[in-house]
Amino acid sequence: MTVEGIFTGIAAYLRGFLAGAPPWVVTLAMGVLYLIGVLAFIFLNALYLIYLERKISAYMQQRIGPNRLGPHGLLQSVADAVKLLGKEDIIPRGADRWVFIIAPILIFIPATMLYAVIPFGKGMVPADLNIGVFYFLAVASTTTIAILMGGWGSNNKYALLGSMRCVAQMVSYEIPLTFSILGVIMLAGSLQTSQIVAAQGKVWYILLQPLAFIIYFVAATAEVNRAPFDLVEGEQEIIAGPYIEYTGMRYALFYLSEYANLVSVSALAVTLFLGGWQGPWLPSWLWFLIKVYIMIFIFMWVRWTFPRIRIDHLLSFNWKVLLPLSLANILVTGVGIKIYQLLTLGRW
């Protein structure tokens, strides 16, 4: 077994192991296994990303960052996770009890479901749906409701303010996000993530769609509520917004899904614009990881460089700049494709 085929080899071996069982058992068992794999991926990444974020922010601010626990402070996140597990679980008396309890669980479901269509490597898509990218957008849009439930259920004015901002911000930034992806879909001629990656064998779409990439990046930053668009949380003004009343594991679930979403929007950016798992020499899944981490580093770089912007500026920037630009991008892409077809094929 080569390094390239480690994960596909494991999957094939397990399928062989289940060969005698009826097909629906195989489908169910493989689904559960993929889910376990995705959950392990999310937990390991989140644990490491919290450490990475603290280190990067520290170096950008000429500090050292966590360095006490383990070599270079590598075990800090583990200690923090254990600490969160031991915290008291508080439900405020005035809270809308069930909405408050369900919200952190509900936010984690779409965060996990998003990974179903991510091509982690060559032939490594958990569920290669033919509407892949569209599925991603549809599932991602439900995150808004979970945050809104948390904010409303807490029965706290700052939480409610945060969730109101969340709706205004995430519903409006969804539109340029979707439109920026349309350019790529027009070029690839498919919504299937594996085919979009395959179509980038010769040239990555970031070269053909640079404007779309920038729009995607800005809108994605707003969608995952990271600075400079972290108005939903805004520690200095509304004290973490919808998460203000949450403690212990419930708070950790919100935090976890936030990092899970950061990884998934980076993974989608890699899939759509940076050629997915394609690259020379190294195994495909390693290329994918490297590119995802480059994207995540840029997200962190932006977070620790720019100050937060005001809510009205945020919304007018979306409607007056990003939306017209993304529409223009679709128009130019459409005309470009037709001209290319005329030049190469000699017909419209």
Partner: protein, 168 residues
């Protein structure tokens, strides 16, 4: 082998109808709106069973955002001290009965006029292209009319919200 899809259909249908009843019967308007999400998710599930994945994704994408906005408006417009009694009952049984009955009759008549036949061919693997062709080809004019209608509604809403003549 037992028929899994029939089982799933009845499960989804039960969830959808129970959630829809909760939307109407609950007294807290935010809870009603949240159950509306469950109703829409159940309908999306039925679309998936019918192998119309694109439609299911559209259902989720549009209504998730729509319900979020609905809740925001519910919270903004219900100026009551206690949100627990924001979705109140009234006693207009007669008017409600007439309207519901009329709607039921229209739905039953509409269903009866349609000749429901099962398509002999299996559903195509990808129905995105077929939907696009239908929208931009055969049904281009109804599609555009619907778009213009939405635009008119939007402009009207903005005009109403501004209210009367502008200040300057």
């Amino acid at each position: 082998m037992l028929d899994v899809s029939a089982l799933l259909f009845w499960l989804l249908a039960a969830i959808t109808i129970a959630a829809a009843l909760a939307v109407v019967l609950l007294k807290n308007i935010v809870h009603s709106a949240l159950y509306l999400v469950l109703t829409f998710a159940g309908v999306a599930g039925i679309y998936i069973l019918l192998q119309a994945e694109f439609l299911a994704a559209v259902q989720l994408l549009i209504y998730a955002g729509a319900v979020a906005i609905l809740i925001v408006f519910a919270v903004m417009l219900t100026r009551r001290g206690d949100i627990k009694a924001s979705n109140l009952y009234n006693f207009n049984y007669l008017a409600a009965g007439v309207v519901s009955l009329a709607l039921l009759v229209i739905i039953i008549l509409g269903n009866g006029r349609m000749a429901w036949t099962a398509a002999p061919a299996p559903a195509p693997a990808s129905n995105v292209a077929a939907i696009a062709n239908a929208f931009l080809g055969r049904y281009a004019i109804p599609f555009e009319v619907a778009a213009v209608l939405l635009l008119v509604a939007m402009v009207g809403a903005i005009l109403l919200a501004r209210g009367g003549k502008p200040e300057r």
